[in-house]
Amino acid sequence: MNIPSREGSKFFPNFKCSKQLIAFALTLVLSLPFAVSAQDAAADAGGADVAHGETVFKNNCAQCHAITDERVVGPGLKGATSRNDMAWLTKWVKNSQAMIASGDPYAVKIYNEYSKAQMTSFPGLSEEDIKAIFAYVDNAATAAPAEAAAGAGAAAGAPAASSGPSDLFMIVLVALVVVMLLVLGVLLVIVTILSKAVAGGEASEGDTDFMTRLGNSLKGIVADPAIRSAVIWVFALLALKATVDGAFGVGVQQGYAPKQPIAFSHKLHAGEYKIDCNYCHTGVNRGRSAHIPSANICMNCHGVIKKESPEIQKIYTSIENDQPIEWVRVHTLPDFAYFNHSQHVNVGGVECETCHGEIGSMEVIQQRSSLTMGWCIDCHRTTEVNTKDNKYYDNLVQLHASESQEALKVEDIGGLECSKCHY
């Protein structure tokens, strides 16, 4: 008697599987149009210059300047081309100190306005580069409102998507019932017509009108105990299914996107500035927790950038009062489930987005995966083990190769066993 544990756990995921697929498909379907339109908007207006400009801007300027009129360390660049001509701008970017020293009035004015903080000179940038930067800035200024609108649309779409599966199920169900009722009606009509035709001459006898006969036959149906019990059974089973489905959903927080104490945007940091996840989530390669960054990590940049923003002031207050920021936890696993980030990210080479979704496009962080056991198991069944350059797996790879033609999956090395996650 050798009952492998996986047989036991099969119950769980299979129940969930179909629902999951629907949810995923639906999310995909609903989010695709918006994603595409946003990209289109960016692509249309631009051209090569804009794309080049974006790269140069992000590599050199983004630390201190916003493309809006927002003041970061230096002034926002929106409308910079209207304030000064291109020649002035080129000169300024290449060597601002020289311009201030030469007494250029606008340069001196800016210098004084920004508390005599000197802008780094970029003599390395070519004229084309600088032109491209401002092409990008101007383009972004016009594209930004459109994008914001698209973003809002996507955000509005998301909740609908998350609550989708059960709604869709209900819609399909209702539609089915309506269609069936229609078919029933049509059939009844046909039956009536046919019976009339069969009756033919004996019209006088069967001259009761259609509605009465329909009523009679309906009465007959209602009175029939077999049909009655069948209806009750169907109803009871449907109710049971709804309850069971509901019970599986208890504690599943998919789509949970609570308001956070600080309006931190992953879209801006991870998406636009492409700051590596690791930079803030320092534990992700080391241990169980990825770590919510402590305030001192924020200060690495915000010690100089956007100090006066009210949201960033909250971090300053936190540090001054020695009171930690109480973020609202989004991804929560039950206490009896063990999960280790380093196993997945460092060893397994799994991308953050695989479980957390498109973090780079989330203004407010949202739980994208269901984080149920079925979801874990499904992935462990299909994922290949990242054995490359890892001596730990040498034995296993060798053994597996001698036994099977297929790739080494997580489930093949005990990834479905209870004590991998529960102890």
Binding site: M1, N2, I3, P4, S5, E7, G8, G246, V250, G251, Q253, Y256, P258, T282, G283, N285, R286, G287, R288, S289, H291, I292, P293, S294, A295, N296, I297, S318, I319, Q323, P324, I325, E326, W327, V328, R329, T332, D335, F336, Y338, N340, S342, Q343, N346, V347, D389, N390, K391, Y392, N395, L396, L399, I413, G414, E417, C418, S419, K420, H422, Y423
Partner: protein
């Protein structure tokens, strides 16, 4: 059956066929007590249907309510993350455990800034064996009943500034009039603390430091002064011993440094089954009154009365002296078994012989010194050059201090953590006199029996919150560093003393500069800063002085000693004598408010949460006592009432009581547990004596059941559970004593393990297993606490132990074996007066053909691909089928919710106590089964570390809590698939030798193997032959 010539019994209950024993023997779980003190709802066994429906209804409502809204959980990061601190990753710090004179070099595992586990520090060579008390000291840190801050009179709101001002003003007055200032402490191991006291003394020259120990060896120090001119406790090296004779010294259980001695001694007990493997062992004789842990491990043990013990030493001396040409001493002949044999073996071992004695009588110790000197043990097994400092108490000085305080001659008293009102025989006198002392300050962590009588309490933090150093042995230096910031508003005693002496009160800097002046100069390498950092990292620093050895010449007055012994001891006495002894877990009772220690079954009696009057069966029958009868033990008017424990091996005509119990002001877990036996101790010639003389013992008519665990978990048919042999037979045949079950089939006889209905498992990568050497396991219980600490095992309390519901995953079974032949059925029914004892650690055997797995209806217990029998709590529905089907009885059921439950008011019932919880292990809730997981969390962690480092798991990367806790390395854990691992090598050596599986005939194929116990006894045939000659 082949090879089985012994019958074992677990306790007298079994031989008596007690009603309760018989009832429980057949069932896995004891019934609920009829007069249950918990209402049926809380009690898992109540069958109140209405309650059940109510709970069900509420549960449904609660679930639906809970489903409506997500509970908002917070994720709170650091404001400023400390460098090197990563949430969810453990940090380890080397430190030192010191309590009284006890010392251990330890590593402290911390998570998110709180210590959660104590492990031995391998760099602390010679002091890395740690016992149950050291493991449990962790829980002492999170004791909720300590003082939150300084206390003046009844005022606990007072500030440190106010206290300082008051004390300094009063100290000034005392100093001005030249009044006597006394500092009272137990053994102080810290040289820096001694320097602080010296600094304090130079500021207030009328200061004297008095040291005493509740378990004093003052007489040994005194004897060494008179014999060798050195007032020290020598360091002993049991690893060089060929013959050891211990007379009343429980050197593996409670005498001086038991874990250290046990670790050394185990090296002489290790044997190997390979052809040219080690096949010789040391031999151990024990002469003692109570069956101690050490005595139960002895090859030859003789029960003697306390009044005989001095004569046993003298007779042994005379026998050895007669053969080695020493000077004979006049001594009455004492008729005890094995004395001649012991003398012969001592002579044969010569320099590798060792005689130790636990009697606190200088005359006896002088004779022991003479005996060891005669044998030439000094320089090999005993070393006076690098003495131990672990006991420095001076009984005479302490007695003087009590007189001084009584006479009102002490003007200021500072108590450095000691608790003499409780643990000194003259505690009552002290209690009456202490309020008379003008300025009295305690540094104790709580208002205990002593501190509560003093005017000020300036609580000192736990050692895990403190800076300190220690010198347990000459040349062996060790550091204690804080592993958590102060839990309460406490302050180290050293800081207080420095402050009151008007000095810089930074004790950390003080130690640093002390080490610069005194330790670094003894061979520190590199610049001082790097020396300091390295010492802190290693935890220890050894100077060449630690290894110094020299022989010594005995220059004592043996005639005077013999005369004194002749006067004090009698060869035969008829009265009922009292013997006090120290319990292995509780010790002196200083850390009694520790539920882990209270619930640790005492190794031999397997009793917990109580002390009792131990009497032999013979004496009990004579007096008409039965187990559990409450009796009054009366020593000249000083009396305590205790339940009777009938104990095999106890000397007839004696009654033994453990010290360390009966605390009154220690806290919830200790107060009222047992009775305080210290007042019954006496002084003989100024030295503390645990053999105070004759007592009268009378029945009170009450009954109190003692909570004992041994007979709780039935293991049927012990023939194949325990396998043992004697050395002579083992030398001839490594398979001696093995039970190899056979089955007769139509094809002839086959091994029981050759037939199977099972398909078996394949372990491709790892196959985790354990080997337990019954020869080196001596039953101390360190692993039990190590496991409890690692795996968040709850404390259940006395009543639940009586109900057979202890939760320990690891238990140590103690078996007595009958003297009678296996055919002598009548003889087997009589309890042996002096049985042989075997200890067997018992945990989940992780069977390959696991009976538990097949019966679980919900697949909550399954098999892993690495040989583990997995237990999934969240799946368990509590049918308990698995536990019923487990042949080893190692599964535990959570009858209650043991956390946040006022019925179990231990560490899981308060926020501070819960800080000790290991975050890697689930805290189990009511209604699920749990059992040894082979520390799967450590296995997973070790594997993950290897994966992250892109390498294979190395042997030694992973160790289970019990194996790392074992002071004698009796447990070997490892990957049996790795040919290079210690466990594989050990098994390949022992597979055709001592290695056996428990209950091999049922063919469950455990991953845990045991190695036969080998006693260094003469084979039985030989014994009979000598009888015939005689």
């Amino acid at each position: 059956m082949k090879n089985t010539d012994k019958r074992y019994w677990r306790g007298l209950e079994e031989l008596r066929n007690d009603e309760k024993f018989v009832k429980n023997a057949g069932s896995e779980f004891a019934d609920a007590p009829s007069d249950t003190q918990y209402e049926s709802l809380v009690d898992g066994t109540g069958s109140n249907r209405r309650d059940f429906l109510k709970v069900l209804g509420f549960g449904m409502a609660a679930v639906s309510l809970a489903a409506c809204e997500t509970p908002v959980k917070k994720a709170i990061p650091y404001v400023n993350k400390p460098v090197g601190e990563f949430p969810t990753l453990a940090n380890w710090y080397a430190s030192s455990y010191t309590e009284g004179g006890d010392y251990a070099s330890i590593l402290v595992k911390t998570r998110e800034g709180r210590p959660i586990k104590i492990e031995p520090n391998d760099l602390g060579k010679g002091f890395s064996g740690i016992g149950a008390r050291v493991h449990a000291s962790l829980l002492g840190l999170y004791d909720n009943e300590k003082l939150r801050g300084p206390k003046k009179g009844d005022d606990t709101k007072v500030s440190w500034e106010a206290v300082d001002k008051d004390i300094m003003a009063q100290l000034g007055q005392v100093a001005a009039k030249g009044g006597a200032i006394r500092i009272l402490s137990n053994t102080v191991l810290s040289p820096s603390t001694k320097a602080v006291i010296a600094d304090f003394t130079s500021k207030y020259p009328t200061t004297q430091h008095v040291t005493y120990d509740a378990n004093s060896v003052s007489a040994l120090i005194q004897a060494n002064e008179s014999s060798f001119g050195k007032a020290v406790v020598p360091s002993y090296d049991f690893s060089k011993v060929q013959t050891v004779v211990s007379i009343g010294a429980d050197f593996q259980g409670s005498w001086i440094s038991p874990e250290i001695f046990a670790g050394q001694f185990a090296e002489t007990r290790r044997v190997s089954s390979t052809k040219d493997g080690k096949k010789d062992m040391s031999r151990h004789y024990q002469f003692e009154t109570t069956l101690s842990l050490t005595g139960s491990n002895a090859d030859y043990r003789t029960a003697v009365k306390p009044s005989q013990i001095g004569l046993v030493v003298a007779s042994l001396y005379n026998q050895v002296a007669a053969k080695l040409g020493g000077k004979a001493i006049p001594s009455a002949k004492v008729d005890v078994a094995h004395l001649d044999k012991a003398a012969n073996d001592l002579i044969a071992a010569k320099a590798n012989a060792l005689v130790v004695c636990g009697v606190n009588d200088p005359a006896v110790q002088v004779i022991v010194n003479a005996l060891n000197s005669l044998l030439g043990s000094y320089g090999t097994t005993i070393n006076l050059e690098a003495p131990a400092y672990t006991r420095q108490g001076n009984d005479v000085a302490m007695n003087q201090l009590v007189d001084e305080i009584k006479g009102g001659k002490v003007d200021a008293l500072f108590v450095l953590g000691a608790n003499p009102v409780y643990d000194h025989p003259r505690g009552a006198e002290l209690a009456a006199a202490l309020p008379k002392v003008g300025l009295s300050v305690a540094f104790n962590d709580r208002p205990d029996e002593t501190a509560s009588l003093l005017k000020f309490i300036c609580p000192a933090p736990h050692y895990l919150e403190s800076w300190n150093d220690a010198m347990p042995k000459a040349g062996f230096y060790s550091l204690t560093q804080p592993t958590i910031s102060l839990v309460f508003n406490t302050r180290q005693a050293q800081v207080s003393l420095l402050k009151w002496a008007g000095l810089n009160d930074d004790y950390h800097e003080y130690i640093k500069s002390y080490w610069r002046k005194n330790v670094y100069t003894q061979g520190g390498k590199g610049d001082y800063e790097s020396f300091w950092v390295k010492s802190l990292h290693d935890g220890v620093f050894m100077t060449p002085a630690a290894n110094a050895t020299a022989s010594a010449t005995f220059a004592g007055d043996i005639d005077a000693a013999a005369a004194s012994v002749g006067k004090q001891y009698k060869a035969s006495a008829s009265g009922l004598e009292l013997a006090l002894y120290q319990n292995v877990g509780i010790g002196t009772g200083a850390s009694a408010n520790n539920p882990w220690l209270q619930e640790l079954p005492e190794p031999v009696t397997k009793a917990c949460w109580d002390n009792f009057a131990m009497i032999s069966q013979h004496t009990a029958s004579e007096l008409g006592f039965e187990q559990g009868d409450v009796v009054k033990v009366d020593l000249n008017g000083k009396a305590i009432e205790l339940p009777v424990m009938v104990q095999p091996g106890q000397a007839n005509g004696t009654v033994a009581v453990a010290i360390g119990f009966g605390r009154e002001k220690a806290g919830k877990s200790a107060d009222g547990v047992g009775k305080n036996a210290y007042p019954l101790a006496s002084f003989a010639g100024g030295f503390l004596s645990f053999a105070p003389g004759e007592v009268t013992v009378t029945k009170t008519g009450d009954f109190r059941e003692v909570a004992q665990t041994q007979t709780h978990n039935t293991v049927m048919n012990r023939k194949s559970v325990l396998q043992e042999t004697v050395l002579g037979q083992f030398q001839k045949d490594p398979l001696a004593g093995r039970f190899i079950p056979e089955i007769h089939t139509s094809d002839g006889v086959v091994d029981a393990t050759d037939l199977s209905l099972w398909n078996g498992h394949q372990y491709k990568n790892h196959s985790w297993g354990m080997v337990v050497d019954l020869n080196t396991c001596y039953g101390c219980g360190s692993c039990v606490i190590g496991c409890q600490s690692e795996n968040n095992i709850p404390v259940v309390g006395r009543q639940e132990i009586i109900n057979s519901r202890e939760m320990h995953w690891m238990r140590i079974d103690r078996y007595y074996s009958s003297d009678a032949d296996v055919e002598d059925l009548r003889g087997l029914e009589i309890a042996s007066e002096n049985p042989e004892v075997t200890f067997q650690p018992m945990m989940c055997q992780h069977c390959n053909n696991a009976p538990c797995e097949t019966v679980c209806p919900v697949l909550a217990t399954t098999h892993s691909s690495e040989g583990l029998n997995q237990m999934t709590y969240n799946r368990c529905v509590g049918t308990r089928y698995c536990a019923n089907n487990c042949p080893y009885k190692v599964r535990r059921f959570n009858w209650f919710k043991y956390f946040d439950n006022d019925n179990f008011d231990y560490n899981f019932n308060n926020d501070l106590g819960k800080m000790v919880i290991n975050p890697e292990v689930t805290v189990r809730s009511r209604g699920v089964i749990e059992k040894c997981s082979m520390c799967v969390q450590r296995i997973q962690e070790g594997k993950l570390t290897a994966k992250r480092e892109r390498r294979q798991v190395k042997d030694g990367d992973i160790n289970v809590a019990c194996a790392s806790a074992c002071p004698t390395n009796a447990i070997t854990f490892g990957d049996m698939n790795d040919a290079e691992s210690r466990i594989s090598k050990l098994l390949s050596e022992e597979r055709e030798g001592r290695a056996f599986h428990m209950l091999e005939e049922i063919n469950v194929r455990p991953q845990v193997s045991y190695l036969t116990k080998v006693r260094n006894k003469d084979t039985k045939v030989k014994v009979e032959a000598t009888k015939e000659h005689a």
